[in-house]
Amino acid sequence: MTYFGLAETAISAALDAGARYADARVMHRRYESMNARNGEVEELASDESAGLGVRALVGSSWGFFAVPTLSEAGARQAGTRAAEIAKASARVPGPALDLIPTQVNTASWQSDCVIDPIGVALSEKGDLLTHASKLILEHGATLAEAQYQIWDTTKWFASSEGHRIDQHIRETGAGITATSIGNGESQRRSYPAARGQYGTRGWELVHDLDLLAHAPRVAEESRALLTAPLCPSGETTLILGGEQMCLQIHESVGHAIELDRILGWEAAFAGTSWLDLNQLGSLKYGSELMNIIIDPAIPGALGSFGFDDEGTPAQRRYAVQNGIWKGVLAGRDSAARAGLDYGGSVRSDGWARLPMVRMTNVGLEPGPHTLEEIIASTDDGVFMENNRSWSIDDKRLNFQFGCEIGYEVKNGKLGRMVRNPTYTGIGPKFWSSMDMLSSEIINWGTPNCGKGQPSQTGHTGHPAAPARFQNVRVGVRS
């Protein structure tokens, strides 16, 4: 039986058991990762996972069941069990639930890939990581790490409405980290980010990173940080590098515009949102420089796909336009509940997990400046780059970020390096203070976005560029 055939069997079983709608996803994924520490590869990990997940809607209640058995009997059992679980959900029922209509698609899609990442020889990959980590050690760091991860996923989606969509998505990423320890603390520098840089691309992404060229610098900076002065404390002008802007967007915009949070569906675990749907289209989120797009169709970005896991095709829309809140990340059921007419942001991290509202690519449109111009026009402030820690409240308002490295900015020039740079703020006040934005957009990839119970790890993309903010509290310490 084909994979579409298995999905259709599961859907039929769910409908036979009383579902009024069902969809099913057969997924096959190969995962490969390698980590090198201090010049040696530790372990090479390789994982292959395949299975079937079925979602059934009975009345207004959902059920989901997943099995690793790709057989007709297994598919039928999964469909039946999903409907049974949906019936149990009705013991604590909610309001009537609908799905917004969607175009029924029969399609195939695959991400761009120049060099098949799993096909690259392991010895070549190992040599790169060991060489990079050796270079970091040679340049004085206490601990040198280099790593890559590859996901090669094929999925076949079908629904009781007639969707038949298969997608092949290859995701690749890599990075290096130098840690120096001394004076009772540890200091870290990474390239291009602590988690690395990721995209829906092949091994060419790793070539483009040129890890070896940056290894000496990160090692030397991690050592220099040990004796650098502490980041000054107080209110000042803050310039953020592009990688830190990626996480600023992710945490204080991306999660805040998730419609399931706004509706309270994530209240206990992930939290809610400060956004009120009554203000959609009118609320001031930030300054006029703030234009945030939701765009799962950006070639090579980590949050890209052809269709989301409900079969809705990738669509671009504004989340924030000229500082005004315009859009949300939604699914077919949450959109119906909110009275909206679009979904397109429902994703699952594997065959065993329920699809839910997730970020795709959420990020900035370019501004009119360059980082050089931003620094040159700043008399007094702090520049921070590369995320080290992140924390934000359950409404996605009150945040505190730590960065790996900071520099004083004096009279239009970068000054002394400062260690343990942190800043804190309240989302809309912070974004409203953004008065300069660079045009130097990079599509950053975040491969570790946690959400959902059972926990799911999302892969999200964030177009981001350096920006300047006024009157920000920096240098928060214990």
Binding site: W62, P68, T142, F269, S391, V476
Partner: protein
């Protein structure tokens, strides 16, 4: 899938190699509710086969949910042929029996969607119209480990968890419970408790940031246990010099003792086939042990403590079931002895700023109250803190240790903690709700 057959097949395909095989079966279900109705209700059955092999100085780990042994053997052989050298390979675990069995509760292993929904319904009804949200989980794990070194282990465990909040006028109150038995989860009792708690959070005031004496409820101190487990008792962080822990040194108040206890609701052996024990990490303020897998243990010149995380081992071995040993104080007694301070229920979104000093930032959640002259006087809006956790538990800083252990669930099955309430001399709040 039979672990013996898998080992035989792999050993035949890889003659002379060190090979270990793990076969794990999970049957896990989670019923999730929000806005006082069940909105997500899921179940999964997974079988995972893991193989780790070392041959000619090279090591690979392969996991799969498929059952094609021939293909698995070919993949492993192909990977071994080109894998980089691994001079630090620590070898396989020598044959050794389990120290103890984990709890297997048949009723939890066979729990139905209707039973989980009933617990949710009890919680929602006990909250009497307040908005509620949370989840109820049941899980059953069985595992087998075999190796060419002769180690052979079979085990099973069950896990039950509940986490629920009630909401009123922007405030939340929480109840959580972890156990090996779903019958320990009393939806009605927890619903009544959170309803009473959230009603006491009316009209909160915003306090000036600064240092306050605190009484931390077990929901909050669970976060301290997990941070210590991840960054301080982690064998890799210890080996790298990124942990503050120094075995033999008095690093905590003498009232603090911490153990890692896998037998409450955890796995009795780790993915390297090392039987787990009840490991004392801190005894009366003295750091006693670090959690090790075979690699970090070899580096430290000690034996593995059975804390490998398997294919997720890059982060390092850590305690998965940490517990404070209870003291003698009640929360009421702790509050009665505070002249001015805060009663804090829970922490939210905590992140480490520096693992070496274990400085953490995060926020309070699910209930904060001002204590004056030994009495809870009013609710307080949530605060951000930036606090060294080790510093907060240092000698002289712990004023009382609670007697009631309230087991707390984790995001993952069979990972949990057993915290108690703590009264601490000082906690550094660095911001109010408005920034």
């Amino acid at each position: 899938m039979n672990a013996d057959q898998v080992l035989q097949a792999m050993a035949k395909a890889l003659p002379g190699a060190d090979v270990e095989v793990r076969v794990e079966y999970r049957d896990s279900a989670l019923t999730r509710f929000a806005n006082s109705f069940i909105h997500q209700n899921v179940a999964e059955q997974t079988t995972t086969l893991g193989v780790r092999a070392n041959h000619a100085g090279r090591t690979v780990s392969v996991t799969t949910t498929t059952v094609d042994l021939e293909s698995l053997a070919e993949r492993t052989k192909a990977a071994l042929a080109v894998a980089p050298l691994d001079p630090a390979w620590p070898g396989l675990t020598a044959p050794s029996p389990l120290v103890a069995e984990s709890v297997v509760d048949d009723a939890t292993a066979n729990a139905t969607p209707d039973e989980r929904a009933s617990i949710v319904r009890d919680f929602v009804e006990a909250a009497k119209g307040l908005e509620t949200a949370g989840y109820c989980r049941s899980a059953h794990w069985t595992g087998s480990y075999r190796s060419t070194a002769g180690q052979s282990l079979d085990a099973a465990a069950t896990d039950a968890a509940f986490d629920g909040i009630a909401r009123l006028n922007g405030a939340d109150a929480v109840a959580r419970r972890a156990s090996a038995r779903l019958s320990d989860v009393d939806g009605t009792a927890m619903g009544e408790r959170v309803a009473a708690s959230v009603r006491s959070l009316a009209d909160p005031v915003e306090l000036e940031p600064g240092r306050y004496e605190v009484v931390l409820m077990p929901e909050a101190t669970a976060d301290i246990l997990h941070a210590l487990a991840m960054y301080s008792f982690n064998g890799r962080f210890f080996a790298d010099g990124r942990s503050f822990a120094e075995p033999g040194a008095t690093q905590f108040d003498s009232s603090i003792s911490i153990v890692d206890d896998p037998f409450f609701a955890g796995r009795p052996y780790d993915p390297e086939g090392t039987p787990r024990t009840r490991l004392t990490l801190v005894d009366k303020g003295v750091t006693k042990a670090i959690a090790h897998d075979r690699r970090t243990a070899a580096q430290a010149g000690v034996a593995s403590t059975g804390h490998s995380l398997g294919e997720e081992g890059v982060f390092g071995p850590m305690p998965l079931n940490p517990a404070f040993l209870p003291g003698t104080g009640s929360v009421d007694d702790m509050v009665a002895n505070v002249e001015r301070g805060l009663l804090v229920t829970d922490f939210w979104y905590t992140r480490v700023l520096d693992p070496k000093t274990l400085v953490i930032t995060g926020l309070t959640r699910n209930g904060v109250w001002l204590i004056e002259n030994g009495k809870v006087v009013r609710a307080v809006r949530n605060l951000r803190f930036t606090q060294g956790y080790a510093q907060a538990l240092a000698p002289g800083q712990v004023l009382a240790v609670g007697s009631e252990v309230v087991p707390q669930p984790n995001r993952r099955d069979l990972v949990n903690s057993a915290p108690v309430a703590l009264r601490l001399a000082s906690w550094n709040f660095t911001g109010g709700a408005s920034g």
